[in-house]
């Protein structure tokens, strides 16, 4: 990238468009969404190993179908969680965590993961909505704008009449709260979906 804003300032939709030619663009989408998605799947399954395998399969499937992402102005999160739901449903149907997409992109899958259980899918959508609704208002606003809508921090800050730095702080705290409400303890900053590069800007 020599022209235009850095990847971490771009929306999810723009990143997915650019990922037709750039693996780095897709990596930014991954960095934004992998931890919340994995935490959510961990909560659904109660099985960290299975949750990780489902996360891996979800992102491999997302890479393969990135051309089919339709920008509805809501960022990549609903699309990714939709893929995760499908991966989970297929895994339950086949009594084995799906690995087709990982095979197609050349990613290894764990050999021993327990068989998925029906209850992992029950209440999937309601659970996700409840986790978001449980965040304090200011944090939820930032998370919705930054993570779910994929809007850059500058735009989030403008929309909420706060500084970009304050938006980053709220997002960081909101993601920590979200992880906690999804059943995962706070993770080090370097592993949060907020790209660490952004904090230096």
């Amino acid at each position: 990238m020599t022209n235009g804003p850095p990847f971490n300032e771009l929306s999810d939709a723009e990143l997915l468009r650019r990922s037709r030619r750039s693996s780095a663009a897709f990596r930014v989408v991954y960095d934004r969404h992998a931890a919340p998605l994995n935490a959510f799947l961990n909560r659904r399954t109660g099985d960290p190993a299975a949750a990780f395998e489902l996360t891996a399969e979800t992102f491999a499937a997302a890479w393969l179908s990135r051309d089919r992402f339709v920008d509805r102005g809501e960022g990549a999160a609903p699309w990714l969680f939709g893929i995760a739901r499908n991966v989970l449903a297929s895994s339950i149907r086949d009594a084995s965590v799906q690995r087709d997409s990982r095979s197609r992109v050349g990613l290894a899958a764990a050999a021993n993961v327990g068989a998925p259980r029906d209850e992992w899918l029950v209440g999937f959508d309601e659970d996700l909505a409840a986790a978001l609704a449980g965040l304090p208002g200011p944090q939820r606003e930032v998370i919705e704008m930054r993570v779910l809508d994929g809007r850059p921090y500058a735009e989030v800050a403008q929309g909420l009449a706060i500084t970009p730095g304050a938006a980053r702080v709220r997002a960081h705290r909101g993601l920590a709260s979200l992880r906690a409400s999804l059943g995962a303890a706070p993770a080090p900053a370097a592993s949060t979906p907020v790209n660490p590069k952004e904090t230096t800007r």
Binding site: S22, A35, P48, F52, D67, V70, A187, A190, S191
Partner: protein
């Protein structure tokens, strides 16, 4: 699995996924480069069937291939231009496709050239006036069609 282990695993998965994605893109670039190089040498002697396999067609051929491949493009008078990436044909219709549906964005349609399926297009707007089209293996990579369909007799005769 502890939080730190989980974080490390996710970071490693991100690295592995990015590397796999880069391999996939590099492979596609090599295929494109090879196709262009081969195409320049043999373009004048290749039969249409071989052109389907190598993806060497003029924008005019691709434009004509839209109504030949999909009924909805009949009478739409498409024009196409090859993008700088060397693989994407940007096609614009003079009139809206039929039958009208609520949203053509993301819709996938086949292209037929010389009565054989040669590739496909993806709708770029809701009205269906602009399409990005791909030929041969590139259309397979874009998941418009499966490889076994390439070179097969057209499924749906055009009307335009």
């Amino acid at each position: 699995m502890t939080t730190n282990e989980s974080s490390r695993d996710l970071a490693r998965l991100g690295d592995d996924l990015e590397a796999a994605a880069e391999r996939s893109l590099s492979s596609a670039r090599r295929r494109r480069t090879g196709r262009v190089g081969i195409g320049v040498v043999v373009l004048t002697v290749l039969a249409a069937g071989t052109a389907v396999a190598t993806g060497v067609f003029t924008p005019r051929q691709v434009a004509a291939g839209l109504p030949a491949g999909a009924f909805i493009f009949g009478g739409t008078h498409p024009t196409c231009a090859l993008a700088s990436d060397g693989v994407t044909y940007h096609c614009t219709l003079a009139t809206a496709p039929a039958p009208e549906i609520s949203d053509f964005q993301g819709s996938k349609q086949l292209i037929a050239i010389d009565q054989k399926i040669a590739g496909g297009c993806i709708g770029q707007d809701h009205a269906g006036m602009t399409w990005d089209c791909y030929i041969g293996e590139e259309a397979v990579r874009m998941e418009i069609l499966t490889e076994d369909l390439l070179g097969q007799p057209e499924l749906e005769p055009g009307r335009g």
